[in-house]
Amino acid sequence: MMINKSIKTSGGDTACYILELQKISKSFGLVEANKNIDLQIEAGTIHGIIGENGAGKSTLMNILYGLHRANSGEMLVNGARVKIKSSADALSLGIGMVHQHFMLIPRFTVLENVMLGSEGGALLSKGRISTANKLKELGQTFDMEVDPYVLVSDLNVGMRQRVEILKALKGGAKILILDEPTGVLTPQEATQLFEILDKLRENGVTVLLITHKLAEIMAITDNVSIMRGGEMVGHRKTSDTNPQELAELMVGRKVLLNVEKPKAKPKEIALNVRNLGCYSSRGHKVLDNLTFQVKSGEILGVAGVSGNGQTPLMEILAGMRKPDEGYFEILGKKIDHETKVSPFTMRENAIGHIPEDRHKHGLILGFEAYENMVLGFHNTEMTGEKKLLDKNHMLKHTADRMDEYDIRPRNPKLLASSFSGGNQQKIVVARELYKNPKLLIVGEPTRGVDVGAIEFIHKQLIQLRDQGCAIILISVELDEIMGLSDRILVMNKGQEVSTVNGDDANPKDLGLMMAGISEEASN
């Protein structure tokens, strides 16, 4: 780290900025992630940075926190020019960060996690006591007390986030960067987080809030900067702007924030789930007595904080896992613990599956696009008439789908890993929809997908529904669930909390249900 106070910056007014970035640029190979970024942050404010996935927000914050090194540009903290070469430099300048994917070690206690990096001596004994005391003090000041001796793996996501914030504060952070902090929270937890952020602001901490959610920017920030395609495209005082303006700045054109959806015309029952239950490998009950139905021509949304049984439910329906209890009927075909199933037989039952983790279950990233386009359909005409795989046929099939779904770049021979998130997802969607499934299981269809592609995928799902497909949609994004679903089933701890009509749903009630509080109880 190098602080050079002798170099004065051009303007005399820089002193009131706690943090200033000048002409920051960063590229990864040929991709320019950040282009000439300027940013000024006033001390003691909450400053929002908004942009789509891939707009370069995280890269910029990682530069600020020393995880990446900028190719060019200057950084000033309290008016003094600084070089941040590592997180240690950032921490010593009072910059702390709460990452999107928490940097906590599940097998460690809260205390061990907080101590890591500033243990207060070669042996731990002394630091343990002082850190525990410090945690208690901070917890009281900011209203977020946490038991230092529990394992992080035993905490829920909201509490883990508190640990992250406490960790940064304990390191003496005066500038706190939060990267997409509400992505994993229930609406109630998000509200609590905002209360904490308010408290931080009152106590003189400057907060940088990175998000792609407009509502959050409007709710909590003082100022907002908008990024698009690696560039800073605007700065606004939050009180002087509105969501529509911000959305247009983010995307660069007028956008439909909600896809139009005609009324559903449900027909016969396509999926009938009865008393479904299953256990994790450690013997915990992860699905508990789940009963519901999905009709042809409707979308059933499954809402819930991630890790409340959605994943096992999807895996069972897709044939990747067997139910331990109960059964389900797909188009009249009964499947229970005894039935021999596999994803392959499920596909033969006219089921499409868009998995929630496309990198793990949807694509083989090291394979080329045309190979991914036929994955799981090797025995169908997608690979040609012959017994052996017909490469030319597959290439043509893929090129056709790429035209149909506007997948870019239009190169069937490109590795799946070379496509952007949105285009990768389109490959999966194109593959799964090609055989006109009667039942579609969709998990997190727009995770890590840009706004333009979200619009496209949502339209596809509605269209498919209107053609008479039954769709079960699992997503942690409440907006997505509410925008698309005709009925919404809310899950908590593997159980159904309640099922509500899509038109009657509102985020507040859904949030309460996601936390396990059913409607009757809350009334």
Binding site: S86, A88, M103, P106, E112, G117, G121, A122, L123, L124
Partner: protein, 322 residues
């Protein structure tokens, strides 16, 4: 009864001798694996340590120089492993196997070049080896029944390196769980990015873990050739590095548990060598080859599910890339 008592004592005594290199290598394995580096190269480090120890002891006549040489050679191998898979993010298993091959070949070639005895080193005189140490009060305790015998036969009378190995276990445990270095070491094996974002260098931390492992393996190597044995014989490590790695897994990457696993392997080894020429009731005479294969067979049986699910460090085997 008395006969059985002494038989047991001698078996345990032999167990300790055989388990010593296992313990040291297991502690080495725990350090590197807890830092996230797969350490299949324990075998190679052990072998090169053994060779250098015997060579230097034979050339200079000093056990201490032999020990220092062994440690240096083993640490050098560790650094090579680190250079390949920390600095250059190579595959840790491939790099480990390469080191094992390197050690296996290099020790024989250098051995032939220096001593011209087909890869062996000359037999060391007793001054050039670590000799058994008589502990205090052995004679005084001789008159106490049972305890006196246990003290004389089992506890006293080992070479210094056996006691060093026994000490290494609590020391390793202390470092891992009570020190700053240990906390960071465990953390880097679970989530290097968390360590990085806490402002601690992942690279340097992993190198240090490998160096500590190198020191332990070096001592183990010296034990083989200038304490337990009296010269270096080609391939004298004979899979002990792999057995130690199995002990690490049995021990769920915890020093004390791995220590017990080492003793178990040592015990198997000790009794098999005693049972080789004896007619066992019901079974008859067991072929010697089968008996010496027993520890390996046990390893396979135990590893295939008898010890419950091992929980390795989460980030093991994955090179860290920002």
């Amino acid at each position: 009864m008395i006969d059985f008592f002494y038989q047991t004592l001698w078996a345990l005594d032999a167990t300790l001798r055989v388990a010593t290199p296992l313990m040291l290598c297991a502690m080495a394995g725990i350090f590197s694996e807890r830092s996230g580096i797969v350490d299949i190269s324990l075998e190679g480090k052990l072998l090169s340590g053994a060779f250098v120890a015997a060579t230097i002891a034979s050339l200079t006549g000093s056990v201490w120089l032999g020990l220092i040489g062994a440690i240096s050679a083993s640490v050098l191998m560790s650094l090579l492993h680190g250079f390949a898979c920390i600095t250059h993010r190579g595959d840790q298993v491939v790099s480990g196997v390469a080191i094992n091959f390197l050690a296996s070949g290099l020790t024989v070639i250098l051995g032939i070049a220096i001593f011209k005895r087909g890869g062996q080193t000359p037999t060391l005189s007793s001054g050039e080896r670590f000799r058994p140490i008589e502990l205090w009060f052995v004679d005084a305790l001789d008159n106490v029944p049972v305890i006196g015998a246990i003290y004389r036969e089992l506890i006293s009378g080992h070479s210094l390196l056996v006691y060093v190995a026994l000490l290494c276990v609590p020391i390793a445990s202390f470092i891992l769980y009570k020190s700053r270095f240990g906390l960071r070491l465990r953390a880097v094996g679970e989530s290097p990015i968390a360590v990085d974002s806490a402002g601690v260098s992942v690279t340097w931390l992993r190198y240090r873990a490998l160096i500590v492992g190198g020191v332990f393996c070096g001592i183990a190597g010296a034990y083989l050739s200038i304490s337990h044995g009296a010269n270096f014989v080609r391939e004298m490590s004979a899979g002990k590095g792999y057995i130690a790695l199995a002990a690490v897994i049995f021990g769920n990457w915890r020093p004390i548990r791995a220590f017990w696993a080492c003793l178990m392997f040592g015990f198997l080894d000790a009794i098999t060598s005693r049972l080789q020429d004896i007619d066992l009731p019901l079974i008859g005479e067991v072929p010697a080859q089968l008996m010496s294969a027993l520890p390996y067979i046990m390893t396979i049986i135990l590893l295939s599910g008898f010890i419950g699910r091992p929980s390795p460090p989460s980030a093991i085997g994955v090179p860290y890339k920002k």
